[in-house]
Structures are given as structure tokens and as C-alpha cells.
């Protein structure tokens, strides 16, 4: 993962570094809290806006309740009726389950109806005008300006205008990996059947597009006589996992420092552009939530950026993108092995020398991102019934957002234009062409496969 993403490059986790990291971590926690508060407020105003529209329509037709008390009573009666129906359906479901009948579906508990506040109701029913704050909330949600967007945009704005004081820098970098505990606890939502179904399609996508990008760049560079070091770094970076993969393969191929930094700049620039544009492109193309999740899981270059883009779109997109990402990051050791073979062993053998022996196990164990085991443990625990629906909701919705908010604050505050300006030269050309090609082809592929293949049922 890259330095604009969730990687560990920059600050090492240790107790000795804690005092250095604490101020920045606290800053990210405060930013995260503010953004979630924004999200909750905008969400509430948006649902109230929709309810206000219904009341307004009824008022215009002369069917609105006469006063607020009548309006509230109507909602309470409707909710009580739905609750009774739910209880009856639950009894039927229990009886059917006991008899071994699997055709009866588990009923969903009715959610409390949205009820306008008295002042809002009076404004709509009497003045026939929807309050400004509700319209504002609806506008923000329709522009997808959720907590994710706020943290990234405001963070980036702060970083590139007033800047971050030195005391906060280490902590804002250290906040980014807090996205990973969120990824792990999200595992409480999945059954193994989901992971395997989406994982198989994800594997096909990763092999086709991620490995494909690496291989395409390798051959393209060889034909165009581009330096092998640059080609390998770009292939790993654009294909797999941003800066981490680029750092992993740079020593294998003796990449030149200038090319290496151009490559890193290009990877960061492309990832950042993808993060801010893909959610809007997805909406414009009418991508369903699972399809968008599959697309960003394949086309965006690192974990933090793709998790942010998928969360920006919807929770269902995140569920799909998370599985594809787990498959993708598992490919880092394979990319390093490919680089050793293609750039070191094969040229040596072709030149008649004895090829360097590869210690496959050493590469795999040292480069494999072990946090994914935490995700697998969570899925297994869910499969064995450790989590109640309430546990799942707390872990995979509420606490997940807390972790993500702190992590995204760190991501936003570390998007520096100065880093992005380092993109350049041949690296820029290779990165933009191959990254764009990968994104376009991946979009076509996931849309052709369709949402059902990528849908996580939970």
C-alpha cells in the first residue's frame, strides 16, 4: 500500500514511537468524529427530506394530517401494525424451521418510521415549504458528500494549504493503518460461501488484470527498450499494490533512484485520481453496488484508496471490494517472484549463465500481508455462529466506520500535491496508459459479469 494509502511506510509501530504518534492520532480521531457527526446529520436530514416530500405531496392534495399529534399517531399506529405482522411472521418462520421447511424466509424486523420534528411538520404542512436544512442534507447526499468524501477532501485541502504542523505528522501517517482493523472486523458479516463465490470471480479478475498489467508492462517495456528497472517497478505498482509492491521489487531489478521516484509519484497520482473520480464514474455508468465494488477492487491501486472509494459508494460495494482486495494483496509475493524470474533469472539463463536460485518460501513468508488471516478468522467465527445479528451490526457497521473514519482522516491529511508532482517521465506515460487501460477493461468485464456474481449476502 502506498504512502497516500494505508501502508506502513514512514512510521514504525512501537511503544517508543507512541508519544510521537499520539498528537496526530488524536487529531485524526477528532477529524473522524466530526466527519461521522456530519454523516449522521446529513443522513438524518436526507431521510427527513424524503418524509417531508411525502407530507408536502399529501398537503398539496389536501390529505395531510390535521395536526402534528395526528401525524405522529398515524406513524405510531403503522409501526405497531408492522411489529405485530413481524411477530406473526417470526412465529411462522420458527415453526417452519423446526419442521425442516426451508422455503419460509426469516422475516426482517421493521425499522422505526422516520417522523418529522414538530417544527419541520408545521413548515411543510402549513407553509408548504421544505426546511432549508433538510434540502441541504438531501443535496449533500445526492452529491455523495459523505464522511469519506469530507475526510479526504478537507484533509487534502488542509494538507495543501495551511499544512500540518510537524508535531502531528507522525500520527497522521500512523492513523492510516487503522483502516485494517476495520477490514478485519468486517469479516463478521461474511459467510464462507460469500467469500468463496466472490473470491473465485475476484481471483479471475486479479489474475487477468493485476497479473496481466505486470506482464503487459514487462513485455511492452522490453519491446520499447524501456529500462527494465523502471518497467518492473511500474508493473508491480500499477498492477498490484502501489508503493509497497514497487518498494518490494526495486532492489530485485536495481531501479534507478530517479525512475523509482517518478514511478512512486505516478502511482500516487493515478490512485488519487481514481479515488476521487471512480465513485462518480460508477454512478454515471449506472454500476450496481457489487459491480462497483468489484471494479474498484480490481482497478484502484491500494487498499486504503479502494476501501475509501468503495465506502464512498455504499456499504454493499465495500463488502465486495473487501474480498477482491484480500485476494489482490495475497498476490504481492507472486509479483516479487515474477520480478525475480523475469528480470534476473531468465536474462541470466538466456545469456548462458546459471540462474539465481529463488527461495520461494522465504519470499512468500516475508512478503505475505498477514492481517488477512484476521479477516479469515472472523469469517470462520461467523460461520460457527459466534456473532448474533446485533454483534454483526456493531462490528461491521458501527465500529467499522469509527476505524475507517480515523484511517481516512490520515489518508486525506497525507495527500500532498508535492508528492503527486513527482510523477513524470516515461513512468508517467506507462502508468497512465496501463492504469487507464486496466480500469476501462476491468469496468467492461465486471459490468458484463454482472452484480449477482459479486453480491455478498452475509
Amino acid at each position: 500500500m502506498g504512502s497516500a494509502g494505508g501502508g506502513g511506510i514512514g512510521v514504525e509501530f512501537s511503544l517508543a514511537n507512541l508519544p510521537k504518534m499520539l498528537p496526530g492520532l488524536i487529531l485524526c480521531a477528532i477529524f473522524g468524529w466530526m466527519a461521522l457527526q456530519w454523516d449522521a446529520t446529513m443522513g438524518k436530514w436526507n431521510t427527513h427530506f424524503k418524509e417531508a416530500e411525502k407530507v408536502l405531496k399529501a398537503a398539496n392534495e389536501g390529505k395531510a394530517p390535521a395536526n402534528y399529534a395526528e401525524y405522529k399517531q398515524k406513524h405510531a399506529d403503522s409501526f405497531a401494525k408492522k411489529t405485530e405482522e413481524f411477530k406473526a411472521a417470526q412465529e411462522t418462520y420458527k415453526a417452519a424451521k423446526a419442521a425442516g421447511d426451508k422455503s419460509v424466509k426469516e422475516p426482517k424486523k421493521p425499522s422505526k418510521p422516520t417522523t418529522l420534528a414538530e417544527s419541520e411538520f408545521n413548515s411543510v404542512a402549513q407553509a408548504k415549504a421544505i426546511p432549508g436544512n433538510l434540502s441541504f442534507g438531501n443535496l449533500m447526499i445526492s452529491f455523495q458528500l459523505t464522511y469519506v468524501a469530507m475526510l479526504l477532501l478537507v484533509g487534502m485541502l488542509i494538507r495543501n494549504t495551511v499544512g500540518i504542523p510537524e508535531i502531528f505528522k507522525a500520527g497522521t501517517v500512523a492513523a492510516r493503518p487503522l483502516i485494517k482493523p476495520g477490514i478485519i472486523i468486517l469479516g463478521a458479516y461474511y459467510m464462507w460461501s460469500d467469500v468463496l463465490k466472490v473470491g473465485v470471480f475476484g481471483l479471475a479478475l486479479v489474475v487477468a488484470f493485476v497479473m496481466g498489467t505486470q506482464i503487459l508492462i514487462s513485455f511492452w517495456a522490453r519491446r520499447s527498450k524501456v529500462d527494465s528497472g523502471l518497467a518492473c517497478v511500474m508493473g508491480a505498482g500499477v498492477g498490484v499494490c502501489g508503493v509497497s509492491a514497487a518498494v518490494a521489487v526495486a532492489p530485485v531489478v536495481n531501479a534507478k533512484p530517479r525512475d523509482f521516484f517518478y514511478a512512486i509519484g505516478t502511482i500516487l497520482l493515478f490512485g488519487t485520481l481514481g479515488l476521487f473520480t471512480f465513485p462518480y464514474i460508477g454512478k454515471a455508468l449506472g454500476m450496481s453496488d457489487p459491480v462497483f465494488g468489484a471494479w474498484v477492487g480490481t482497478a484502484i491501486l491500494n487498499t486504503a484508496q479502494l476501501v475509501a472509494a468503495a465506502s464512498w459508494y455504499s456499504h454493499e460495494s465495500l463488502l465486495t471490494a473487501n474480498v477482491i482486495n484480500i485476494v489482490r494483496v495475497g498476490f504481492i509475493p507472486l509479483i516479487v517472484l515474477w520480478a525475480i524470474y523475469f528480470y534476473v533469472v531468465k536474462p541470466a539463463v538466456d545469456a548462458g549463465h546459471e540462474g539465481q536460485k529463488i527461495n520461494v518460501m522465504e519470499v512468500v513468508t516475508s512478503k505475505f500481508p498477514i492481517f488477512v488471516f484476521g479477516f479469515f478468522i472472523m469469517v470462520t467465527m461467523n460461520e460457527f455462529g459466534f456473532f448474533t445479528p446485533e454483534h454483526r451490526s456493531i462490528l461491521a457497521h458501527e465500529l467499522l466506520k469509527l476505524f475507517f473514519a480515523i484511517g481516512f482522516a490520515g489518508v486525506g491529511l497525507n495527500i500532498a500535491f508535492d508528492d503527486l508532482k513527482k510523477a513524470g517521465g516515461t513512468a508517467f506515460f506507462i502508468g497512465v496508459v496501463s492504469g487507464t487501460l486496466k480500469a476501462v477493461l476491468a469496468a467492461i468485464a465486471v459490468m458484463a459479469i454482472g452484480g449477482d456474481a459479486f453480491r455478498v449476502k452475509g
Binding site: 514504525e12 478485519i184 463478521a188 518490494a248 532492489p251 536495481n254 498477514i370
Partner: protein, 54 residues
């Protein structure tokens, strides 16, 4: 910078990066484990997150 020293610098950078990422992974696994234990034991309940906001 000679080829050897460039190689050594990258090798060192790659080694320190992956060492830091491995430590980071242990840290996030620990954070996730503690979180799950707190939820399963009921220390973090359904009202916890809601109570943090207005």
C-alpha cells in the same frame, strides 16, 4: 551512486518497509482482536457508538 550501493539502499529500504508492515499487521490484528472481545463480552454494546454522537 554505484550500482551496488543503489541495490543496497533499495534492499535496505525494502527490508525496513516490510519489517514495519509486519509490525503494523501484528498491531492491527491485536486491535481487531481486542475490539471483537469487547463486543462479544458486551462491553461495547448497541448504544456505544450512538452515544458518541449528538
Amino acid at each position: 551512486m554505484s550500482e551496488q550501493s543503489t541495490h543496497d539502499a533499495y534492499a535496505e529500504k525494502a527490508k525496513s518497509t516490510f519489517s514495519a508492515e509486519r509490525k503494523e499487521d501484528y498491531f492491527v490484528l491485536a486491535v481487531a482482536a481486542v475490539t471483537v472481545v469487547l463486543v462479544l463480552t458486551g462491553v461495547i454494546g448497541p448504544t456505544f457508538v450512538k452515544s458518541l454522537f449528538f
